[in-house]
Symmetry: C2
């Protein structure tokens, strides 16, 4: 846990300065920190053996399990000035639970590994655990955190692996879309992108650097800001889509245009989107990522389950390339989602 | 993938300077980098759906799975000047597979998330994948890498989650040791610590900073150096111990004295170790960590399986505290394993 003079220290609004060393991960020690975090995590309905041994044991009732893993790295993936620790816990749950849902599975469990600067207040990790627990309770009730790891790093890093139960069904892959299918979406389109755009423009100080108080004020005025920082994807609709017979599904992490292109290529089909179904800001609905909404295709005539609404249809390529069209016009693959890469502001 | 002027750049012997930007993760891009890494990873016997969708699907034949997760962070956990990328892949496999083995399970699959500086040569990630694959092939043939994630970070970070199949058996927990049991170990004791001590003393330049060529020369002369950097724990002996009836088991990551203390406390027993069974350097065998050998207790009279050899016995606390003794004398809990924390040298 040695501190080096070159360790970057995130601008997190000064909370680290306000606590004594005894309240930090470094001061408290990893075991004692874990002892404060673990009781805040959900046990889960599928947990046969929870944290505390070399490994956990999780139930997999149909003799298979779905697994996905995802990293969130300070800088590329979030700003400490904008995201509270509670947001980070919630969003880590959301992005992984949405991936499990996108296979048609019911989330059962997660493991969470954190690497944080040694002077991180333990209270921040408790808030992270609270966000994780509350996110699971809302998005995937019954899912438990069955294990984890805590390390020291100059770069705040969150690694979550999430599991799901297919309940005997086949996984809903991204390559199953067939001509005639209805294209449908459950969840927000472009809302996270709009929130982030607001943060980029207004959640900054006079030098353009991410600013915690500007962001908090902005968040209080516009709900899309909080949605970007802690989204609530429609996790339960993944299982509902599978039960309804979805032929393909994925989690919209990189924007509708780009993710629809993945389904088109994987299935060798054309995905026709209907502009009138994409809300007031069609460009934003097509390009905005990180909503973690669900994109699925359903056989014609199937009643769309849960929050799904039709946004287009699937047709044959007729010998042409797989592609995405909007009201019949080809969409390029531009408009994909890589916001922080394009962002030249301060670290925050 | 923006680069900041404050990004720490590991001293890795200059390899990064020798490649063009087109050969780096940043130059090649994450998707193309993944396309070069994925074919190098083992598919695995339990993989029902591998990488490429929102999530993977893994078989869990007895309707349960064992899961463990572990982070390796540049600085606290490894030095780039000492560990090759191949070593890191191998060691990431070894440490996680040993945790799965310590529950008595057979490893089935892993997911691997990497966060690396944008200027990391893709060849280094290919070598990492080769180390992971070869480590799995040696330690857990049939285990596959079913998914992963790749992000950019100033701090080279490896997050592995590994899975195992209990084949219908109960997990071997750390709390099951009973008076009369034989205490046994499979695998090296203190060998990793001896290798690291050599690196600390001789794998450095004249200013005491980790040095790649000094470390390579040292490694060629003494096999314990390579063992520290890429150990081969006796993974198959975990399953063998469970089948033989082991009452408690754990992976020796923090040193025999400290880990035996965990078994003593968890089972409320006294663990009596026998110095004559601990090799020439008893102190090193007691305190050295990171061998990832297996520590287990067996009912009296059970033939010890695989590479296990007896190193002591379990007895009742007789109303006293659970503890560890050596030839009848109490061992304190000192001597645990936290080497890099005590290391004040350069980053490397």
């Amino acid at each position: 846990m040695e501190r080096r003079s070159t360790d970057p220290r995130p601008d997190d609004g000064g909370t680290a300065d306000a606590v004594t060393a005894a309240d930090t991960v470094e001061g408290v020690g990893e075991l004692a920190t874990l002892a404060r975090i673990l009781p805040r995590l959900p046990r889960g309905d599928h947990t046969l053996l929870g944290p505390g041994d070399d490994a956990a044991v999780v139930a997999a009732p149909d003799a298979r399990f779905v697994v996905t893993t995802d990293l969130m790295v300070h800088g590329p993936d979030f700003r400490r000035a904008w995201s509270t620790p509670h947001d980070l816990g919630w969003k880590a749950a959301a992005s992984n639970l949405a991936d499990v849902a996108a296979m048609g599975a019911r989330p059962t469990a997660l493991v969470v590994a954190l690497a944080v600067p040694g002077d991180t207040p333990v209270a921040e990790l408790e808030a992270f655990a609270d966000g994780l627990r509350e996110g699971c309770a809302v998005m995937a009730p019954g899912a438990g955190v069955v294990g984890g790891d805590l390390s020291v790093s100059p770069t705040f890093t969150v690694a979550v692996t999430a599991f799901g139960d297919l309940e005997g069904r086949a996984p809903v892959r991204r390559d199953g879309a067939r001509p005639g299918d209805v294209v449908a979406v459950s969840g927000a389109l472009g809302r996270s992108a709009r929130g982030l755009d607001l943060l980029f423009r207004l959640g900054v100080d006079h030098e353009g650097r991410p600013d915690a108080s500007a962001a908090a004020a902005l968040r209080a005025r516009d709900a899309d800001v909080g949605w970007h920082l802690a989204p609530t994807p429609p996790v339960a609709d993944g299982r509902a889509a599978a039960i309804a017979g979805a032929t393909a599904m994925l989690d919209l992490s990189d924007g509708l245009a780009l993710d629809a292109g993945r389904v088109a290529r994987a299935g060798d089909v054309v995905v026709d989107l209907t502009a009138a179904a994409l809300g007031d800001d069609v460009r934003l609905s097509l390009s905005g990522g990180e909503d973690h909404s669900l994109f699925a295709t359903f056989p014609p005539g199937v009643p769309l389950p849960g929050g799904f609404r039709a946004v287009g249809t699937v047709r044959d390529t007729a010998g042409g390339a797989p592609r995405v069209t909007l009201d019949g016009s080809d969409l390029g693959e531009a408009g994909g989602w890589d916001p922080y890469r394009l962002w030249s502001g301060g670290q925050g």
